[in-house]
């Protein structure tokens, strides 16, 4: 018996603006949930003239014209559990995810211990099921201990449920190890995800190399540290014929390299994260450690290049890059502070900024956080279709609010968007047909 029994009655969600990037649907209509699955969806479904007529015996939920979209699929999230539960537990992570409309997330392997062993992968899946919020999946480490020396047991980890392989926060620095990881993974048709940063060039750096770092007296991480690694790995992917994905791409140069590789037909994909299209190095201000991210916030030219790459499809997906870090490691002088920011609850509103700024159409923006990452991770998610799990989010694209880190559900409060005025918010989130989140003002 499942932990959370599904509603005994079918439920009809009517009067919703249905948004399904996978099928291109954008219309007023209804959705019928039976058990844990979507039973029917369609324009004007249950509509009878000016009224909505739901099937006999079904419960009716009037969505009042709110957007109903597939639950977000977040392909880059770090859990503090196991190992650093004071930063984030799978419980707080699950609650933060559904508060942001995220119904599936993929955990990075950089836990303690590292996910390079089947038991850790299984522990996370089991704990996440018990929490019963967002569905949690895992990456396996590409190398043992994510140390970049010996290959991890990718085949066995894949059998235990790992969706793809990466050393997560660490780049696989050694070219020979990376080549072997790509070659080995390709024999199982597994995806390798790289944090592209040449470590020797980035060593000791605290923020993007440039005028601001110089003014603040901080050592810089040059944009070339990313591009050099991207160019190298494209060569290695070409040598091995492997599927390679670059995480959180942040510079104009590396995007240009990826665009060229895609044009040549290589199996290269990439994602970016909201800070890289919504913030710049100027947001470091006077040593704001919440803006100390990896890769670092870049220049305005780089930010524009990221937006352009989101428009032209060079960037395949957007992930939150949720890295919880507590005060202990953030409230320090900038060079000592940890890298990383939380992002689950700002993923939707910051992505919607692209729509409000008329840079992307609504369905194109949503595709980046639903169907596209689901496809990359080969997950049955991110889509509204009969027979699919009933994972969806109701959101108000116009609702204006101000990000207040203290009010977010994550255990750590290190949001680079703290204080930002945003527009668009998840109102209710459903996983397998169950309501797992309702925004406070809507509970009344």
């Amino acid at each position: 018996m499942p932990k959370h029994p599904s509603p005994s009655r079918p439920t009809a969600y009517v009067n919703a603006r249905l948004l399904d990037p996978a099928s291109g649907l954008d219309a007023l209509g209804g959705l019928l949930v039976e058990g844990e699955k979507i039973a029917a969806i369609g324009k004007d479904l249950f509509r009878d003239g000016a009224r909505w007529r739901v099937p006999e015996g079904a419960a009716e939920v009037d969505c009042r014209g709110l957007c109903l979209a597939p639950g977000l699929v977040d392909m880059r999230v770090l859990s503090g559990e196991p190992g650093e539960e004071h930063k984030e537990t799978l419980d707080s992570l699950g609650h933060a995810a559904v508060a942001g409309g995220v119904t599936s997330l993929v955990c990075l392997p950089n836990t303690t211990p590292v996910i390079d062993d089947m038991s850790v992968a299984e522990f996370i899946a089991r704990r996440a099921r018990k929490v019963g919020m967002s569905k949690a999946y895992v990456y396996g480490a590409a190398t043992k201990g994510a140390k970049g020396v010996e290959l991890a047991e990718m085949g066995l980890l894949a059998e235990a449920g790992a969706l793809a392989f990466t050393d997560g926060l660490n780049a696989v620095a050694n070219a020979r190890v990376m080549k072997n990881a790509l070659a080995y993974a390709s024999s199982f048709d597994l995806l390798i995800v790289q944090h592209a940063e040449e470590p020797a060039l980035a060593q000791g750096g605290a923020m993007n190399a440039g005028a601001r770092a110089t003014r603040l007296g901080l050592s810089g991480i040059p944009a070339a540290a990313e591009a050099i690694m991207v160019e190298r790995d494209i060569r290695l992917a070409e040598m091995t014929g492997a599927r390679l994905h670059f995480a959180h791409v942040s510079t104009a140069e590396s995007l240009a390299a990826i665009r060229r590789a895609k044009d040549r037909g290589l199996k290269i994909t990439c994602d970016t994260a909201p800070p890289y299209f919504a913030l710049t190095e100027a947001d470091v201000g006077d040593y704001r450690t919440f803006a100390k991210l990896s890769p670092p916030l870049r220049s305005e030219d780089d930010r524009r290049a990221v937006v352009a790459a989101l428009k032209d499809g060079t960037i395949d997906a957007v992930a939150s890059d949720h890295i919880p870090e507590d005060e202990e490691v953030k409230r320090l002088p900038f060079p000592q502070a940890a890298f990383g920011g939380i992002g689950l609850e700002t993923l939707l509103p910051i992505t919607l900024e692209l729509v409000h700024n008329r840079e992307l159409a609504m369905l194109d923006a949503l595709r980046l956080v639903t169907a596209a990452p689901a496809k990359l991770m080969r997950l049955a998610a991110g889509e509204l279709a009969a027979g699919r799990p009933a994972d969806f989010v109701l959101f108000d694209p116009e609702r204006a609010w101000q990000v207040d880190a203290d009010k977010l559900h994550s255990k750590s409060k290190n949001s680079p968007f703290d204080g930002r005025a945003v527009q668009g918010r998840a109102v209710a989130t459903y996983v397998d047909g169950r309501a797992v989140f309702a925004a406070e003002s809507d509970r009344r």
Binding site: A206, A209, G210, A211, A213, T214, R215, L216, G217, L218, S219, G220, P222, D286, Y287, E328, V329, R331, L332, P333, F334, P335, Q336
Partner: protein, 321 residues
Amino acid sequence: MPPAPFEGFAHRHLLGIEGLTASEIAVLLDRSESYVELNRGAAKKQATLDGRTIVNLFFESSTRTRTSFELAGKRLGADIINMSVSTSAIKKGETLIDTAMTLNAMHPDVLVLRHPDSGAARLLSDKVNCAVVNAGDGSHEHPTQALLDALTIRRRKGKLEGLRVAICGDISHSRVARSNIHLLTTMGASVRLIAPRTLVPSRVETLGAEVFHDMARGLEGCDIVMMLRLQTERMQSALFPSLREYFRFYGLDYDKLAAAKPDALIMHPGPMNRGVEIDSLVADDFGRSVIREQVEMGVAVRMAVLEILTANLARTAQKNL
């Protein structure tokens, strides 16, 4: 009875030169000037800061700067506590804020902070009730050094405006360079930076200085030649091949100095590596080297800074009543 507040310099802390206006800098320099004579006289002590407590909080060893602040505070009648924190302790992370909170509970009036990380003084200033003086934070700023340099120059040249100043050496890691660039450009001087490319930070020209990699060209027509200390420990990271080679191309000797104006002043924040960034003969050329005078001006500048910030603190406190 608190001293009268200083109109013209309203800041609570001195965290850096960046952001100060020319008139605010002038207020600090003018006040410093008045202490030069006091320090040269026999009776050096005043009661201006009687009853005040100043804490020198040094996370990096620096005998000169610490002594200079200590002397400045004592000459104004303040009580001074010196605290040195070893660098191994700060690696544990929380020491700066923890130490600051502990000290804050003892109600000092001024905290003088030296710290190896850029931004540390600003972080501290958010957490304490007293005034904070940045005595050097990482590679960011060292405002009292720039002020004492400016005072030295102004007394010798009668002005700062219109002068051409060369700053030579490890610009990348130098807080002295950054503070001096801000101060000198704000006061209307032009600044040239001279160093090999490996010691020049990215886009430094945006700070308003011109960059040269050739000493002779860079020094051409300069009124002031300011040498920076070369941190020999940075040899490890392959920023230049050898000390011998460095001295050959970037060390100040009479040959290279010939490109500057004949009456150009030679400055150095100390301590000097003789034969590395500066030739001993040049360093000891009493006609042109003002290195010892810089040390003297340091005490006067720090007296002025302590006095002004304490006065402003009294004013803030009165406002809060």
